[in-house]
Symmetry: C2
Subunit: 647 residues, 2 copies
C-alpha cells in the first residue's frame, strides 16, 4: 500500500484519478495574500477561536463529562462538539504546515479533554452524554454522526500532519463505535447532517480498514429513501432524503448538507469505481454552477432552511450564501478535479476563494460572516464584539463568533490546508491550478512560482529540479475568465492554447533553471447574468481577473446613494492602483456612472407604463473595490450588481 | 355617550374624524364576488376552522384548565388561545351580518370553555395556566397580552353584533386584570406582539371606561425604549422597541406587529387628539406604500423575522408577504381613511383585498396561504390535507390549516366584517370607497349599488331614500389606477373630476329614485416598478382595474416555460371573457410574448458583457389570469412580473 499523501483528500485507489493530490508538505505558500492569511490564521484566528471555545462552553461541555457525578447543563448548540473538532482539524493542518509548540500544546490539551469525555465503547457526544437526548434516538436532528464525522476529520488531519495517533486514536474509537452500532443493527439509519460519509472514507484511506469505507457506502445508499423522520419545519428534501443520490438531478435542500454529502459520494466513487456516483455528483455540480451559484461563489440562496433555491433564484438582497456552503463547494470541486482533471473545477475554486471565501473574514481575521450579503441597501450597526449573534443575523460588519459557530473553524481549516489546492501531479507531470507565490515539490520535479496574482496576471515559474531527462508536462490552468493568455519558456513564446481539460500543456525535458512566464491579461470587465435570473435583470457586475468587485459607500463621492446609481456600460472602465487599502495593495476600478434622481417617484413604488417619471440625474464616477474587502470600514451600503445605462 | 357603531372601528371622539364609519347593519353585501365569499365563509370556512381548533388542541388547551387537577400538556403554539379568540371574533361579526343558530351555538359553547378556564382575577392564558410559563414573566415572547387583545376584540365584536355581553364579560374581566397589573405596577412593561393597544381602545369605545384607553396610551408610550429584553434571534427593531413610535420614520421589524401597533396608535390619536401619533402613522404608511409594498398588496418581504425589508427590497421569488400583514395594512388604512377622508387609503384597501387577500384563500375557501408567493419558478407538491405545515413552508397549493394558524381566522374576521369597509358618512353626506353590489343605509339616505366590478367598471347607484331635502354630497372614489372616469346622474353627464381628497363629489338634494352611473374604464395595462426596485428591473406586470394579473402554467401553450418568457410591451393587450373559470366569471388578458431559448447559456449562469449568446426564441401568446385565482388547479409555475421586450 502506498503511504497516504499528507493532505485532506488522499485516495488509495489512485488509478481512477485523472490527477493526484500533493501533500501539504509538498506545496508551501511563500508570500502574498494567502500566505499572509495563513500567518494570520495561526497568529490571530487560532487564539481567538480557542478563547471563544472556552467562553461559549464548547470545551466545558466536554470537560464536564469527565467529572463523575457532574451535572453541568450543556451550553450552546447541541452540536457544539463539532466546533471543537473543526478547530482541532484546523490546528492539525496548520501543524503540518510548520511546527508550533503552541499549536501542539493546544491540540494535546483538547485531546486530553476528548479522551476523558469519551465513553468506554468509543461514543462521544457531550449533549447526549449530559442527558439531553438518548444515543442515536433522534438522528434527524441530533448531529451525533456529524460531530463524530468532524472528530474523524480532525484525527486524520492530525495523523497526516504529525505522523502521530494522539487524536486519531480517539477518532478511531468513535468511528469503531459507529461501525459496530450501524453496520449491522441500524442499516436503515443515517444522520440528518452529512459529513461522516467523507470522514469515514478518509479514515479508511488513513488506516486501510475497509469497514469504514463500507459504512460510508451504506450511509450513502440508505439516504434518499425517506429514512429520516422530519421534525418541525423541514421536509425530506431539506435532508437530501427525498430522492436517492444516484437519481438526483440537481442540488436541493440545505446547501451545506447537500454538498458535504456529495463530497462523500465522490470519495466512495473514487475508492469503489461506481460510476453512477460520480455521474450524480457531476450532474449536480453542473446544475449548481449553471443555475444556482452567485457570481461571488455564494451557493444556497434561501434563508429559509439555509437551502438552495429554485433554478435562477439568485436575489442579491435576500441571499443567504453561507460561508460553509461555499467551502463545501470548494471541497466538492476539488474531488471532481482529482477525478476528471478538468479546469472548470479549479475555476470554481478560484472564484470561491477569491470572493465569497475571502469576504467571509475581516482583514484582521478575527471576525466572520456566516451568511454573506451580495447587496446591502441600508448601513446596519456594527457587529457586537463581546456577544455571539445568531447565525443569520446580519449586522453591518462581521461578528466575532456565533451561537452556531460552524463557519469560523471551517474557514480556519481551509486556510491552513490551502496548499493542498494549488497543484496536482500525474504520471505525465505537474498541473498548476491556483496562482500564488509558492514552492511546489512533485514527483516529476520542483518549481517555484512567483506572482502578484491577482493584482496582475503575470506568473513566473522556475524549475528548481527535474527528476527525469525525458519530457514531462507542465500544465497551467487558463482561467475561464481569461482572454489572450500568452506564455514564454526561457523567453521564447510557446502556444498558450489550452488542451481539452482547460490547461495549457508544456511538454519537454525540463531542466533546473527553466523559466516559464505565463501572462493572463486581466483588464476589468463587465459581467452579465443569465437572462433567467430575474433578480439581476438589467444589471452587470465588475470583475477583474478572478476578483469580483463591489461598490461600497465609503469609496463614493459625497451625495452618491448606491441605491440609485447606474453604470454607463458603453464607457470604458479604468484601473487605479492603491498601494495600501486596508493593509494591502489593491487595484481599484472606476466606471462612468449616473446618479439617478428618483424623487419624482415620491409616493408610489409603481407607475403605469408610459406614465412613469422621465429618468433624471447627473453623471458620477463610481469606484469599485474587490468585494472581499467590503465591510471592513464600519457600517456601509454595498452592491455587486449595478443597473445598466446606455449612453 | 353616543352608542358605538356596530363595526370593528367605532370612535367615540368622532369630531376628529374626516368621515365616520357605518355599522355592519348599515351596509349589506348583496351579490358578486364578496357576497359569495361571505356565504362561503359561513358555510365552508367556519365549520372547517371550528373543526381544526378541536383537532389541533387549541380548544382542548382551554378546556383542560377547567378540570381540577388536570395535567394535559399544552398542544401547539404557546399563543394558540389567540386562534380561538380570532375565530370567535369572526363568528361574531358574521352573526351581526345575519343571525344563525349554528353560529350562536358555537360561540356560546366556546364562551363557556373560556369562562370555565378563566382565573378568578380574570387572567386567561392556557399556556401559562398549564404551567409552561409564569404569568407576565416572559412578555417579550409569551403573547399573553396579544392573546387577551384578541379576546377583547372578540368580546367587542360579539357585543356589537348581538347586543349581548356573553363574550364581552369574559373579555372585560381579562382586560381589567391587565389594567390592574399593568397600569400601576408594570408601567415599563409591554408585550412582544402588539394588538392589545387597539383592542383596549375599542373596549373603551364599547364601555366608556377610560382606564382602557389610558392603558393603551401607556403601552404605546413605553414601547420603543428597549423595554423588551430580546431573546434569541431577534433584536429590538423586530419588536418595534428600538425607536419610540413618535420618532419612527418608516415601518420596521416584524410586519404584523408593526402594523397592529400603528392601528392602536391611530386609535389613540382619534380619541385623544395627539397629532404626533397620527403624523407618525401617516409617515410610516407613506413610506410603506412608496418603498416596501408589492403590487399585489404584499407587505413584509423577508422570511427572516417575517419582517419588512429595506426600501425597495421587493424580490418576487423570496417574498414572505404574510396574509396577516396585508390584513393589518387594511386595518391601518381604514383608520387613516376615517381620520383623513383621503382616497389613497381606500385605494390601498382595494389593492390589498382584490389581490393578496383574495389570493390568500382557495376558491373553495377551505385552504390558505400564510406567506404569499409572487413568483413560483418550480411547481411544488400540493399541500397536505390532513396535516398542518409550519407557517413558512411553501407547498404548491394552499394548506388547510397551520401549526401557527393566525392567518385563516384573520381572513375570516375580515370577510365577515367586509361591509364595514365599503362606505362612510359625514355631516355633508355619504362616501363610497369600494364598489360591489350592496345596500347602504346612512344617516343622509339609502342607496343600492349594482355592479359587476371589477369585471367591468360600471357602477349603478340608486337613491332609495333621502332624509333631507337640502343638498348633500355623494362622494365616489376615483381609483388611482383609473383614467377617464365618467359619471351621469339620471342620465345627464356630470363632472367626474375628483376633489382634493380623491373623490368625485356630487352635491344635490337627492331624491328617491335618483340614479348615478359611474363608469371607470379599465382596459388592461402594464405597470412598471420604481427603478430602485432591483429585483424587478426590466419587468412589467399586467393589471386591469384593481386586479393584478399573473401568468400561470396551466393557461399557457404547450412547451412555454414561464421562467424563460418575455412580454412585447409595444404590442396591445387583449381581453377575453371566460364565463366560468374556477366557478366564476373572469376576464382573461392575453399578450404578445416571446419564449426565449436560453439553451446556448448551458453550463454557466454568467457571461462577459458582449460575449453572451444572442437572444433567440419564438413568438408566443401569453395568457394572464387574476393573480388571486392562482394555485387552484394543482401545482403550477406562476409569475406576476414579466421581463420586457421591445419589438
Amino acid at each position: 500500500m502506498t503511504p497516504p499523501i499528507r493532505g485532506p483528500v488522499s485516495p488509495l485507489a489512485t488509478s481512477r484519478l485523472a490527477v493526484r493530490p500533493l501533500g501539504l508538505d509538498q506545496v508551501e505558500l511563500t508570500g502574498g495574500f494567502w500566505a499572509r492569511w495563513q500567518r494570520q490564521n495561526r497568529e490571530v484566528t487560532t487564539p481567538h477561536a480557542l478563547s471563544w471555545l472556552e467562553r461559549d462552553g464548547s470545551v466545558a461541555n466536554l470537560r464536564s463529562l469527565a467529572k463523575v457525578g457532574s451535572s453541568v447543563p450543556h451550553q450552546g448548540m447541541w452540536f457544539s462538539d463539532s466546533d471543537v473538532h473543526k478547530v482541532l482539524e484546523a490546528l492539525s493542518w496548520d501543524l503540518g504546515r510548520a511546527p508550533s509548540a503552541y499549536l501542539s500544546g493546544s491540540v494535546s490539551e483538547l485531546a486530553e479533554v476528548l479522551r476523558a469525555a469519551q465513553q468506554e465503547d468509543g461514543y462521544l457526544n457531550s449533549y447526549v452524554q449530559a442527558g439531553h437526548d438518548v444515543r442515536w434516538d433522534n438522528l434527524v436532528m441530533s448531529h451525533e454522526l456529524y460531530c463524530i464525522g468532524h472528530l474523524i476529520q480532525a484525527g486524520v488531519a492530525h495523523a497526516r500532519a504529525t505522523g502521530t495517533d494522539e487524536l486519531l486514536d480517539i477518532a478511531r474509537r468513535a468511528a469503531d463505535c459507529v461501525v459496530r452500532d450501524f453496520a449491522e443493527l441500524r442499516r436503515k439509519d443515517t444522520d440528518g447532517h452529512p459529513v461522516i460519509e467523507m470522514a469515514l472514507v478518509e479514515l479508511y484511506r488513513q488506516t486501510g480498514s475497509r469497514p469504514y469505507l463500507e459504512l460510508a457506502q451504506q450511509l450513502i445508499d440508505v439516504r434518499g429513501h425517506r429514512v429520516l423522520d422530519p421534525k418541525g419545519h423541514f421536509d425530506s428534501t431539506y435532508y437530501q432524503d427525498a430522492v436517492p443520490v444516484r437519481e438526483q438531478s440537481t442540488v436541493v435542500g440545505h446547501a451545506v448538507r447537500a454538498l458535504y454529502l456529495l463530497c462523500g459520494v465522490v470519495d466512495v466513487y473514487t475508492e469503489t469505481g461506481e460510476r453512477a456516483l460520480l455521474d450524480s455528483a457531476l450532474r449536480q455540480w453542473e446544475s449548481l454552477l449553471a443555475t444556482k451559484m452567485y457570481l461571488n461563489g455564494a451557493v444556497g440562496s434561501r434563508f429559509d432552511g439555509e437551502s438552495f433555491g429554485d433554478e435562477y433564484e439568485l436575489p442579491p438582497d435576500l441571499v443567504y450564501g453561507e460561508t460553509c456552503a461555499t467551502i463545501a463547494s470548494v471541497m466538492l470541486s476539488w474531488r471532481l478535479l482529482l477525478a476528471t482533471g478538468q479546469s472548470r473545477f479549479a475555476d470554481h475554486i478560484e472564484r470561491a476563494l477569491h470572493n465569497l471565501f475571502a469576504a467571509s473574514t475581516s482583514v484582521e481575521r478575527d471576525a466572520f460572516f456566516y451568511n454573506n450579503p451580495a447587496q446591502r441597501r441600508t448601513a446596519r450597526p456594527a457587529a457586537p464584539t463581546q456577544t455571539r449573534p445568531q447565525r443569520a443575523e446580519a449586522p453591518g460588519t462581521r461578528p466575532h463568533w456565533f451561537q452556531c459557530a460552524c463557519c469560523p473553524p471551517n474557514i480556519m481549516r481551509t486556510v491552513a490546508s490551502l496548499g493542498g489546492y494549488v497543484a496536482t501531479c500525474a504520471d505525465d507531470g505537474i498541473q498548476i491550478h491556483q496562482y500564488l507565490p509558492a514552492v511546489i515539490n512533485a514527483p516529476a520535479g520542483s518549481l517555484t512560482m512567483a506572482t502578484d496574482y491577482p493584482l496582475d496576471g503575470t506568473v513566473e515559474l522556475t524549475v528548481t529540479s527535474s527528476t527525469s531527462d525525458t519530457p514531462w508536462t507542465l500544465a497551467l490552468r487558463i482561467p475561464d475568465w481569461c482572454r489572450g493568455a500568452t506564455v514564454t519558456v526561457n523567453g521564447d513564446a510557446a502556444s498558450a492554447s489550452p488542451g481539452e481539460r482547460g490547461y495549457l500543456e508544456l511538454a519537454r525535458p525540463w531542466q533546473e533553471g527553466d523559466r516559464i512566464t505565463l501572462t493572463l491579461p486581466m483588464p476589468p470587465r463587465l459581467t452579465t447574468p443569465h437572462p433567467a435570473v430575474d433578480a439581476l435583470r438589467g444589471t452587470v457586475a465588475i470583475e477583474r481577473g478572478p476578483v469580483v468587485y463591489c461598490l461600497e459607500s465609503p469609496d463614493q463621492a459625497d451625495g452618491v446613494d448606491l441605491n440609485h446609481v447606474e453604470i454607463l456600460v458603453d464607457e470604458p472602465l479604468a484601473e487605479e492602483p492603491r498601494p495600501d487599502l486596508l493593509g494591502q495593495p489593491v487595484i481599484v476600478v472606476t466606471a462612468a456612472g449616473f446618479a439617478r434622481d428618483d424623487s419624482a417617484w415620491a409616493g408610489s413604488g409603481w407607475a403605469t407604463l408610459g406614465e412613469q417619471p422621465p429618468p433624471t440625474g447627473r453623471p458620477v464616477r463610481l469606484t469599485a473595490i474587490p468585494y472581499h474587502l467590503w465591510a471592513n470600514r464600519g457600517p456601509s451600503v454595498m452592491r455587486i450588481f449595478i443597473p445598466t445605462r446606455h449612453t
